[in-house]
Symmetry: C5
Subunit: 354 residues, 5 copies
């Protein structure tokens, strides 16, 4: 359940802007990485003092500050103060249960979205909140955990290849959004594989565990939907140039991420449709199997009941039962029984009941 609704109630009644971390606690300290690049400059360091947090005054470089493990309230609050973030933004960064949204504060844009990962073999779908602050010459990203979701972007900056080294902060923000959305497809592919596996089980060997698996899938999709759907609106706003901080060339790239998000949503909805069909198939094949069993068993009973009756008749103790004294009485009765049995089997076969 924690996945659906975090313990937000701890904040009930507190004044707005109260900085309380809402989410799973962790003992690992927050890590703050600063990268400055562009205009021939390249700098990368892990900082500890808040003084290192300010972006370079050189307008040709881009500063990227990444904070892992946002549960350390003081670090987030310190950055918020330095960059003049609105108290509600700092509160939202710490409150790791946000719905994806974008808020434009003029000087900077605040974007919340959710990264998805599925860990290991047991397919544990996990989510973390990613908060992005996009300013004119800087990007600040806050990760709830310390996922490796941004690692490849970091590599590209280090390598200095591609557009990323030549473009502004908006392109960097785009790259981060893109790497988060790219991850959705990995999760969707895993879910696709699970659906495929389930469909085979459905045909070959449906069991109550299949039902639970269908239910689990359905739930994961509900959960995914909550994360992905609202992102559509966020990207739609960015792409349409609602904020002055995203330049026209980057808007083309944002449109591309937007398209990917639509594609992910589309796939999600298709999966939902497929799963609802699977439930019907499951229920129908379970009931079909049971019915087959019941039919055969009932038929066995039905065939033997008349035979038992005949045996019962000749087990009666009447003094005058002429058949009992006939020489061929016993074989005759056995023959009649066999005939009745054969007739019933043939009758059932003709009626296609067997």
């Amino acid at each position: 359940m924690a996945r659906i609704l975090k313990k937000r109630s701890v904040k009930s009644g507190l004044p707005p802007g109260s900085l309380v971390y809402v989410g799973d606690t962790s003992t690992r300290p927050a890590t703050v990485t600063v990268m400055e690049f562009g205009g021939g400059v390249f700098r990368e360091e892990e900082v500890t003092s808040p003084d290192g947090f300010l972006p370079s005054s050189d307008p040709s470089t881009v500063t990227w500050i990444n904070v892992d493990q946002v549960h350390q309230v003081d670090v987030v609050a310190g950055i918020g103060e330095r960059f003049g973030l609105h108290p509600l933004v700092v509160e939202d960064i710490l409150n790791t249960d946000q719905r994806p949204k974008m808020e434009d504060f003029g000087d900077f844009v605040y974007i919340v979205l959710r990264a998805l990962t599925c860990s290991g073999e047991s397919f544990g779908l996990e989510t973390e909140q990613i908060s992005l602050i996009l300013g004119r010459t800087y990007v600040i990203s806050f990760q709830e955990k310390d996922g490796a979701v941004f690692e490849k972007v970091r590599d590209r900056i280090r390598a200095g290849k591609g557009r990323i080294g030549r473009s502004g902060a908006d392109y960097l923000a785009y790259s981060l959004l893109d790497s988060v959305v790219d991850n959705y497809f990995i999760v969707l592919e895993r879910i696709g594989e699970r659906i495929e596996a389930l469909e085979e089980t459905l045909v070959s060997n449906p069991a109550p565990s299949t039902l639970r698996a269908i239910h689990g899938l359905k739930r994961d999709l509900i959960f995914l939907r909550r994360s992905v759907w609202p992102l559509r609106e966020v990207l739609c706003g960015l792409q349409r140039g609602e904020t002055a901080l995203v330049s026209a060339p980057t808007q083309v790239y944002i449109r591309d991420v937007y398209d990917h998000t639509i594609h992910a949503i589309d796939t999600l909805e298709t999966f939902r449709d497929m799963i609802s069909g699977m439930l019907d198939i499951y229920l129908s094949s379970i009931s079909n199997r049971l019915n087959e069993v019941m039919k055969v068993l009932t038929m066995i009973a039905t065939i033997f009941i008349p035979l038992t009756f005949i045996a019962g008749v000749y087990g009666m103790n009447f003094l005058r039962m002429p058949e009992l004294e006939w020489a061929w009485g016993y074989p005759a009765v056995l023959f009649v029984m066999a005939a009745v049995c054969v007739y019933m089997i043939l009758y059932f076969k003709r009626k296609k009941w067997l």
Copy 2:
């Protein structure tokens, strides 16, 4: 049913503006509390005479008048007269069965919303109507019952800390809205816990009472939805600056409450999705359990019916039944019976019916 539709019919045919209290009656008298604060001033008193109701003429202070137990028609009517409220507004305050809405009358804004509480262990979901009148320098709040929903706001004003002491009436109204919406999450968490508990019961021990519990949850959600959904529109209007009484800085805060409401709605819809899945699981596992029982019982019957038939055959009284006279006839028949029995059990096992 009272929860869904109050006895509005008592008002049928009365002229508009008729002041009739619609709701559960109570014997407790209405309580009117006046707070004045801001600009260095702080005053708090319980008033009884209507003269004390007018806001201070000092434009730098904010006056908050809170009325508990609106069932006392004369008190509400008196305030309405003093503050020049439209007769329909006074009527709506008394008619505690309103759908959340906002109405802008120029001088003041009338906001209706519903507070939710879940009392005690038996999880009784309760609702009360909160009416807010936001004027330039005053806020009047009407509570149907005397819930403690505003207690923490009162504490913050008394402590004089935070923005609330420095801001205007619109920020006070925001704080009241915020504390009502914060309460929704407590209710939603309680519902989340009930869903969790139910899901475990579903797997371990489904019973007709589980079905009733699912039904009860579904109903509570229908009920919640009616209270929360329309609030979205209300806050959307306030946040977009449809009224001149909400200043731009406060609009940012209203947007925050709006986001919380969207989050609550989102969670509600997710709960609904989850519950509809639970009904399927319940029906399927109930029918599964029954089918298992029936299958085993039918199989026992099916195994014994042929054996009984064999016994019946040798219970016939024919004079010439050679087997009866064989020395090993009886053991041979017992052996045949055992063989038939074992064969059938193996056959059923091979077919995976057992």
Copy 3:
């Protein structure tokens, strides 16, 4: 079915504007009542000649003409001619199967809506078409039957109390609309009571008649929906000032009726949700009860079948069956039977099948 679709086909192929009454015929003659009031004047009379139909030329008074039993085509046609109504409007007044709608013809507004009543104990939901013509200084209302829906408005005018005596024709039209919508809540409360009663029956004693009652309720709701939903749009148009005949102060009142209509629609939809849940509960508890019966019966059979088999064995007529000659053979067999019986009952109990 008549309730869903009246015999409109009698008009098929006729030119537009053909005056044919479509609806249940009645032998009662039409009644035309004229009321003139305001500006110190009060006049009330039943007229028979069409000459009395014209509104007073005094602009400070309001004339209200009410026609019961619109099935008399000549009366309606006469009024239509005198007031210069469009032929299509007269046709629609007679065609008592209209969907609620508003049409603005500049000089007058034509409003159609449906009044609902539930008669007597058997809860027969009945509907009648109300047509309103709102002019500058007059209101003409046409009732399909002669319901008492406007009686209280008439009393208020006679008493000369409240706004109604001081306001214009638009306020009178509002009062008529309001009294129709107020009636919806009486019908909804009756339906609410039926739902409550059904829910208790569902738990205590579900029977096929319960299903029919659920079905009947569902149908009544479908029917209600058709009457109430389109009214929303009508009132929305009036409230937004789409017509010049409704003054700004009255618009506030119209907004109030609009809110009531939304509330009625909301309640309707909630009822629909509740009823669809009831069908699930019904089907589930019916099948549950049957399954309980079948389970117990099958268990009785299952317990006796092995015992009957044992009796069958010792009923065989083999010459050499040593047990038959034992002194304690019979009691021993009876004991074995009792043991088997007890074992099976305990086994079923442990498995929670009993």
Copy 4:
């Protein structure tokens, strides 16, 4: 299936504007009727040469050209050429599988809609495509078959009564649309009667044929919906004055047809709701009836099984069974059997199982 999708594939790959008739072929030749009226003129003739097709140059008269049996490609193509119709319009007239739509080409408006008829006793729902070309002084109508749907309009023109003789081409087009929509109500009434009949059968005697009838109705409604829904948009466009060819007075009339169409759609949706409820009732009452049968049969079996067991006990051949030698043993056993039987019946009755 032909009803859902005509053999459009024969046109696959042909260039646009290819004139191929798509629809059921007929051997009857096309009939072209020309009517000219208005301004004191009245002329009616069946023409064969394309020369007669041009409208009179007198601007005060209206020319109506009606073509039955559009399967004759050359006739349609000839008219298209003479009146300067766009090749795609001519193609669409021949392709009798269009969705209702309106296209404005400046000089003329092209309207496609579908007429519905239900023939004879067996209720065969049939449809034909009606294409209307509305020019300034002429209307051309193309009927797929030679239905009598326009006969009454023709009669009205011949009689020279009503507005139709005094109005322009737009009013004629309106009259044609109106007569098509009027026919929908005849079809809907027939469907209403079928639903009524089915509902009685559902209660009195549900059978598999009832299910097929429900399914057939559902299908007819799907089919009707396809024909009626898009018409709404068409009429909405005409009524809002999107085209200059419809004068303001006629727009009022178009609004009337629009209202009728909304009414028809409303009724359709109500029927759909009712039918979906019927399926639930059907399934429930079928299963209820079967369950009743099974319950009674199972009870008979359950009552006799213990009795048979008692008989089996006293059929055992033990040497020492004291009861067998009692003088009243047999009657006593019979009495015990009767007692067991009575007890079980009473028990079942008390449990309300019988």
Copy 5:
């Protein structure tokens, strides 16, 4: 599953604009065909060197470059470079898992859509991505496979007949779109035939394979929907003149394709409605058949159980059972048995259970 989601994950983490082919690999080389026509010119050749790719500088001719088998990355990249395509466009052409969309880059419009084919007798529904680049004087089309979908357009150009030879690049693009959409109807007709066949099977001989067939159909429709729905928006944009590259006369033609697409969507939705009805019929007739079998079998058992009981009574070994010694005892008992049997059959018949 591959049909729903291609292995997009291989691209995860790569910078945008990375040219990686996503789709089924093929060993066949890409084929590039160039056609130039219009203004008296006609040229057709297969080119291999990228130099031949540039459109003729003559503004009166249209150049059409068609690329089959886009899996050859270098060919696509070469064309992209020459025509100045945006890197994201080239990436999307290679990424053959796009949702249909249109993007306007000023100089050219990029359109993605999906062609459908159903191959052979086994009805394998297949899809391929078609990318179109529409420039001022050229069209470039990329086909994922080498389907014959454009063959007829090629023939029309070669024949030099019709508008296509006289019109510009926009008309060529229209023709390509039209031939793709025309193919949808072939697929829909095949699906219509399958539905027809299934419906007959449903009535005559429902089997579990029928259920799988229904499920397969449902899935194909989900799949089709994903391909066809978004195309609607694409064509809507083109038709409304959102891009300057489509001239007004061609917009009329685009509107025609748009209408066809709406028609295809309409048919799809109708098919979906029909299939959901079929599932109900299937489940109901399967359960009906089983119930018939169970009823007959249970009745046979019910008739014989009382008879067996009677036989059991007279099989008891009491010393004093007077009936056993009666001369006509045995025939009398046989008669009683026959009477019970007949009575039960008549009773069941009267109750309509048989």
